[in-house]
Structure formats: structure tokens, C-alpha cells
């Protein structure tokens, strides 16, 4: 059995965890669509900024190479002036404290004739929690770079669409999907 863990790296987790307790200003991107998607989204607080970019890696755990999406989190928002000029800054929850930062993680397990063949563990979304709302940056697909920003009143009502529709049960092949949130209330150790 193969287990592939394709998740945020330690630097990314540390950057995200560091946003907890800061005051949210806005998010944006150079080419944010009307339905809040882009391939790179920056988050701006009173103290700093981070940019979340959708990337893909080539993996071969399913019998052939394919691209699998991942998040890259970097310091700063170099595209902010361009996005501002294009009117692509969004001020939802501005002035509110980021109470929590969470990662929505998913594991997909394939079983053939009852025997587990592989498990794929990946992050589906990065969630910022406020007193009365959440904002999440999520993958649109497990296989492409596109990201979507979602808003909800709470984590319970956050509707992250299942991008795993490529893994559908067939005769003798079953897929088990499991999702869970991980709180980044402390910066992960080195």
C-alpha cells in the first residue's frame, strides 16, 4: 500500500499560523473572477501579507503520472498594486481579528477487491475564522492550479465542494474520502 502525503510545507504552515490574532484587511488577486477564483490569492492584515498560490506536482501513485494540486504560501503580496489598480481587492471582514487559521485536509483511499492500494492525503482549503464569519481559500480541483475564495457564517456552513469526483466507485474498486480540520493555533515546530 502506498501513502502519498501532499500537503502544505512547514514554512507555509508557519506563515499561516502567524496570522492568527492579526487584524484582517483584505484579500485579492490580479485576475480574480466575479465568482472569486484565481490561481493566486493574497491575504493582507494590518501587520503583514501572505500569498497563496495554486501549484501542481507530478505524482504517479495511481499507475500513471498526473498533476496533483497543492498550495504554496509565501510572505508578502507583490501583486497587490496591480490587483488594486484592477479593482481586485475584497474587503469582507475588514478590521476583524483572525481568531483561528485552519487547514481543511482530505484523505482519499482506494481499495481494490477489499485491499487498500493507496491513500492520498492533501489539503483542500485554508480557512480564516472570525467572530461571525469564515473566509476560505480552496482548491477548485485536485488536479489544477485554480483556487476559489469561499465565505460562510461559520465553519459548519462552509460549503467546500467536493473536487474528488474523479474518484468514483466501480466494480471491485472503492474510494473512501475523509475530511477534517486542523487548527494552526501554534506555529509548527521546525
Amino acid at each position: 500500500m502506498t501513502t502519498v502525503t501532499h500537503t502544505l510545507d512547514q514554512n507555509g504552515l508557519r506563515r499561516l499560523a502567524g496570522l492568527r490574532g492579526q487584524t484582517w484587511r483584505c484579500f485579492g488577486g490580479v485576475q480574480v473572477s466575479d465568482w472569486l477564483t484565481d490561481v493566486s490569492i493574497f491575504i493582507v492584515t494590518d501587520e503583514e501579507a501572505v500569498t497563496i498560490t495554486g501549484e501542481t506536482d507530478d505524482l504517479d501513485f495511481e499507475g500513471e503520472y498526473d498533476t496533483y494540486a497543492t498550495f504554496r504560501v509565501e510572505d508578502g503580496a507583490t501583486q497587490l498594486p496591480i490587483a488594486a489598480k484592477a479593482g481586485n481587492l475584497y474587503y469582507f471582514q475588514t478590521g476583524q481579528e483572525i481568531l483561528d487559521v485552519l487547514v481543511l485536509r482530505e484523505s482519499v483511499t482506494e481499495a481494490r477487491d477489499g485491499h487498500t492500494t493507496w491513500t492520498y492525503v492533501t489539503d483542500l482549503g485554508i480557512v480564516f475564522k472570525f467572530a461571525d464569519a469564515v473566509i476560505a481559500v480552496t482548491k477548485v480541483s485536485h488536479h489544477t492550479e485554480l483556487l476559489a475564495v469561499l465565505r460562510a457564517d461559520s465553519i459548519d456552513t462552509l460549503n467546500v465542494k467536493e473536487p474528488s469526483n474523479v474518484w468514483q466507485d466501480k466494480l471491485g474498486i472503492e474510494y473512501t474520502l475523509d475530511r477534517y480540520f486542523i487548527r494552526l493555533d501554534t506555529a509548527p515546530a521546525e
Partner: protein, 135 residues
């Protein structure tokens, strides 16, 4: 095709209908199979179009399938690529070079079609590889 409410935006002109129209328009030149996929099915996630000119044929698919979508450049591990997104978040990705091409040095560009709206008879997501050979 008209506009529709929901989500605070208008779905025209880059709605899923545009992608569907693009697929059917391209299918006049490159027929779809019984599963509404282009090319020859290699696996659930991959089809293959054999052509004397993989890059040019891939570009032809990209141009045809991306019409009406919001186009963005992406940086892949093997160089630039492009995404055309439609308002239901269905998208088409043009990857002029893929892993197999990077490993073998042989042109093997790909177009990914990722359909987010179900119930239209299209596979949810598959990749079309453009492979050099006689069509």
C-alpha cells in the same frame, strides 16, 4: 443562453454552456467517443490524440475549447501553461509540456478538461495527450 441569478454574477458569456458549445464545435473535426471524450481512451483519466504535429494540434484544441473562458497564465514545473475558466468553475488547462515530455524529450503536450457541472454526460475530468504519429 441567457443570464441567470445566483452567486451575484451573471453566467453569460463564460458559462458552462460555452464550454459545452466549444466541445461540440471541436467534435466536428475530432469526433467524441461514446463517453464524450476526445481521442482514444487510454485510461479513465487519459485519452490520446495521435498527430503528426502534437504541439500544433494541442494548440488547436486549446484555442477551440478556451473560447468564452477567463484565461490566466500559470507556471507549471515544465514552463508556462494556461487555464480557461468558465463561471461554473469548469476549466480547460493547456500544458504545452507534461511530465512524460520532460522525461523523454518527446513532444507530449496535454489539454485537461475539468467539468464541474454534472449531469451533462461529460466525464468529470480527463487529460488529452497529443502524441506524435500518423493519425
Amino acid at each position: 443562453m441567457g443570464s441567470q441569478s445566483g452567486g451575484g454574477y451573471t453566467t453569460s458569456p463564460s458559462s458552462f454552456q460555452a464550454l459545452r458549445r466549444n466541445v461540440y464545435t471541436l467534435s466536428r473535426r475530432y469526433p467524441l467517443d461514446a463517453e464524450n471524450r476526445f481521442g482514444k481512451k487510454v485510461s479513465d483519466r487519459t485519452s490520446e490524440v495521435v498527430t503528426a504535429t502534437p504541439l500544433q494540434t494541442g494548440q488547436e484544441f486549446w484555442r477551440a475549447l478556451s473560447k468564452g473562458g477567463k484565461i490566466r497564465e500559470i507556471q507549471t514545473k515544465h514552463g508556462p501553461g494556461w487555464i480557461a475558466e468558465f463561471s461554473d468553475r469548469s476549466h480547460v488547462v493547456w500544458r504545452p509540456m507534461t511530465t512524460s515530455a520532460a522525461k523523454t524529450g518527446i513532444d507530449n503536450p496535454a489539454v485537461d478538461i475539468d467539468v464541474q457541472t454534472s449531469g451533462h454526460g461529460f466525464p468529470p475530468r480527463y487529460r488529452i495527450h497529443f502524441k506524435k504519429g500518423n493519425r
